[in-house]
């Protein structure tokens, strides 16, 4: 059983909702990332999504676009992410780490090399935003044989037939995109999300995690009541942006945001 499945099994046993923070690796500079990951775990993260910076993040709003730019200004690339995860694993062998990003950096590295090195570094799952399951027939088996979970997105526009296909390919958890838009977009409609999760539950036993639009304890708690996990990205990356000139201030700021969400979810 990989770390993601173990983590969800244990959360289920405790009746808890997964809290899944996202940060872009290398933002504001590569030397801070591992420290941030530990800080996130200390303040209640169950799984960490580590963003792979990309020059053309088409599905992201301005907040994560700028995070990518800061990370790339320091030359952050996939091989550095592997080093970061390896470093993180020195002291944390339990918290699952999921890489999230776009296909081109992986394509350029080569699928085989990517899958082997990611797994060897201690990565547990991979979510490639611009790779739907239909295009995953080459990388999918390589990830599977390396023990990496292939995590896919489901959107409000996903038809039931497509959802069935995605559920058939998905591993680890399903990432439900709560709204039509880019990351960091406007507020989400919890009732609408609830209605859309319902048919998915009939299609799969995979945990359903909801992202996009979760900004504070209140929204986290509202979504937490209907989902198995909540993903928070831009709200954290905003804190990193604010502290970019004084990096020492960032970890406490991240902890404050995440702790509030943890308390709200557990209340």
């Amino acid at each position: 059983m990989n770390r993601i499945d173990k983590r969800f099994a244990s959360l289920k046993a405790q009746g808890k909702t997964a809290l899944i923070p996202y940060i872009t690796a290398g933002d504001p500079a590569p030397e801070h990332t591992v420290g941030f990951m530990h800080a996130l775990v200390e303040s209640g993260a169950d799984i960490i999504e580590l963003g792979v910076p990309f020059s053309d993040p088409m599905a992201d709003g301005p907040v994560i676009q700028k995070a990518c730019e800061r990370a790339l200004a320091h030359g952050t690339r996939l091989t550095h992410l592997f080093e970061m995860v390896q470093d993180f694993r020195q002291t944390d062998t339990k918290t699952p780490v999921v890489l999230m990003g776009y296909l081109n950096p992986i394509e350029r590295m080569g699928y085989q090399r990517f899958a082997e090195q990611a797994a060897a570094a201690g990565v547990d799952g991979v979510l490639i935003v611009d790779m739907p399951p239909e295009e995953a027939d080459e990388i999918g088996p390589l990830m599977k044989s390396s023990g990496l979970a292939a995590i896919f997105l489901v959107a409000p526009t996903t038809s039931e037939a497509r959802a069935a296909t995605i559920c058939g390919h998905g591993e680890g958890y399903l990432y439900y995109v709560s709204l039509k838009g880019v990351t960091g977009a406007a507020t989400l409609d919890v009732d609408a999300v609830d209605r859309q999760l319902e048919p998915l539950r009939r299609l799969t036993d995979l945990p359903l995690c909801v992202g996009f639009g979760i900004r504070d304890g209140a929204t986290a708690a509202a979504v937490g009541r209907i989902a198995d996990g909540v993903v928070v990205g831009s709200a954290l990356v905003n804190r990193i942006a604010e502290g970019a000139d004084s990096p020492a201030s960032i970890a406490p700021a991240l902890k404050a945001v995440l702790s509030e969400m943890r308390q709200a979810l557990d209340a």
Binding site: D56, N104, D130, V177, K180
Partner: protein, 404 residues
């Protein structure tokens, strides 16, 4: 080796051209693309739809465009006869309108009240704003901030046509960034918005449908060649950014093995300097951007490279997936023309024939200058004059040190 006759049966059901193409998009857009594919596949063989499209091309665009024998210039070059396919004479001044007419009809059939587009030189933006005005559709155009500066005339033209031009400040502030922003808009407004992509790139079915709408160029040229020359031409030349005008000219000739084809990319300062926009000529590695796999200029870490070209319309790091396959199977030879040669060609055609080409099209003209003298006077080359140069007058004036 792939038989060239097989090349007319692509893409496959999943939108692949051999290893290229595909539908690499975030999940939110999958539905809209499936929907567009369904709409288009139902209409492409529908006689009423084709009749409507043909009527607009004839009476609104002014087709067929002439095939003009550039006699004086041919004589000066002292080799093959050069024929110009005059897409510059279309309404709005470029081949781009063939595609926007077609896609606007699809938008109308799909009941979408709003259209968006990306644009580089502004020709596709103008062509989109034009058809939107005619159909009463709300229209917003994404354009890199650097291109807004380079192409002020087209920006104001779009404004006059009732479109809103949104300057894109992210990334390299050129065409690829405009496309990123258009995709972000589409993912947000997918319910009421049709995205009119301007080239044979993007996720399936765009490369196919943009090709089909532009193939009128090659069908006409083939017929005109038989009528005016009495046989098929020996060679075709067209510039390639995303590659829609080249695709439009080449596609109907793809099975004519005796017709050589040359796609001319933007050499910028020279392919060897790294400052160019010529992924095929430079043998850029395979990559995925904007929904399709293709030859793509990126660094070792997979970050998209900055591109350089005198022409905003060719300033793009990738290329249509069907061109990528045609390079691999050897159907088309891809070469590059550098900025200085392009400018020279721009001036030469203007002075010799009284025809001012767009800087994009001047890439094809520049290669004709190289190719024609290597051929005999009884041989024939068709060059796609994909757009007119009025929009580039300010750019050329600036290079000449003249400021208005």
């Amino acid at each position: 080796m792939t038989k060239f006759s097989d090349l007319t049966r692509l893409p496959d059901a999943r939108g692949h051209f051999g290893p290229y193409g595909g539908r690499f998009v975030s999940e939110t857009l999958s539905f809209a693309l499936e929907d567009l594919e369904k709409t288009y596949m139902a209409l492409r063989d529908d006689p009423d739809f084709q009749a409507e499209f043909d009527y607009d091309l004839a009476h609104y665009v002014g087709r067929p465009s002439p095939l003009y024998h550039a006699e004086r210039w041919s004589k000066q070059l002292g080799g093959a006869q050069i024929w110009l396919k005059r897409e510059d004479l279309n309404h709005t001044g470029a081949h781009k309108v063939n595609n926007t007419i077609g896609q606007a009809l699809l938008a109308k059939k799909g009941g979408k009240p709003r259209v968006i587009a990306e644009t580089g030189a502004g020709q596709h933006g103008v062509a989109t704003a034009t058809v939107a005005a005619r159909l009463g559709l709300k229209c917003e155009i994404y354009m890199g901030a650097e291109d807004v500066e380079r192409q002020k005339l087209n920006v104001y033209r779009m404004h006059l046509l009732g479109a809103k031009v949104i300057p894109v400040e992210s990334g390299s502030r050129t065409l690829k960034d405009a496309m990123n922003e258009a995709l972000r808009d589409w993912v947000t407004n997918v319910d009421d918005t049709f995205y009119i992509i301007g080239t044979v790139a993007g996720p399936h079915p765009y490369p196919m449908l943009v090709r089909d709408f532009n193939a009128v160029v090659g069908r006409e040229a083939r017929r005109q060649s038989l009528e005016q020359i009495g046989r098929l031409p020996d060679a075709l030349i067209a510039c390639v950014g995303g590659g829609s005008n080249a695709m439009g000219l080449f596609y109907p000739f793809v099975e004519d093995d005796e017709v050589k084809m040359y796609g001319v990319e933007a050499g910028g300062d020279g392919v060897e300097t790294g400052r160019h926009a010529a992924p095929l000529t430079a043998n850029a590695p395979q990559g995925v951007l904007h929904g399709n796999r293709t030859y793509l200029m990126s660094d070792e870490g997979g970050q998209i490279a900055d591109t350089h070209s005198i022409s905003a319309g060719l300033d793009y790091p990738g290329v249509g997936p069907e061109h990528a396959l045609w390079k691999d199977v050897g159907r088309v030879e891809y070469v590059a023309a550098n900025d200085d040669k392009v400018l020279e060609a721009f001036r030469e055609l203007t002075r010799m024939e009284g025809i001012m080409p767009a800087l994009e099209s001047a890439h094809a003209i520049a290669h004709a200058k190289v190719l024609a003298p290597t051929m005999r006077p009884d041989q024939h080359i068709i060059v796609n004059l994909s757009g007119r140069g009025d929009k580039d007058i300010l750019t050329v004036a600036r290079i000449d040190g003249v400021h208005f």
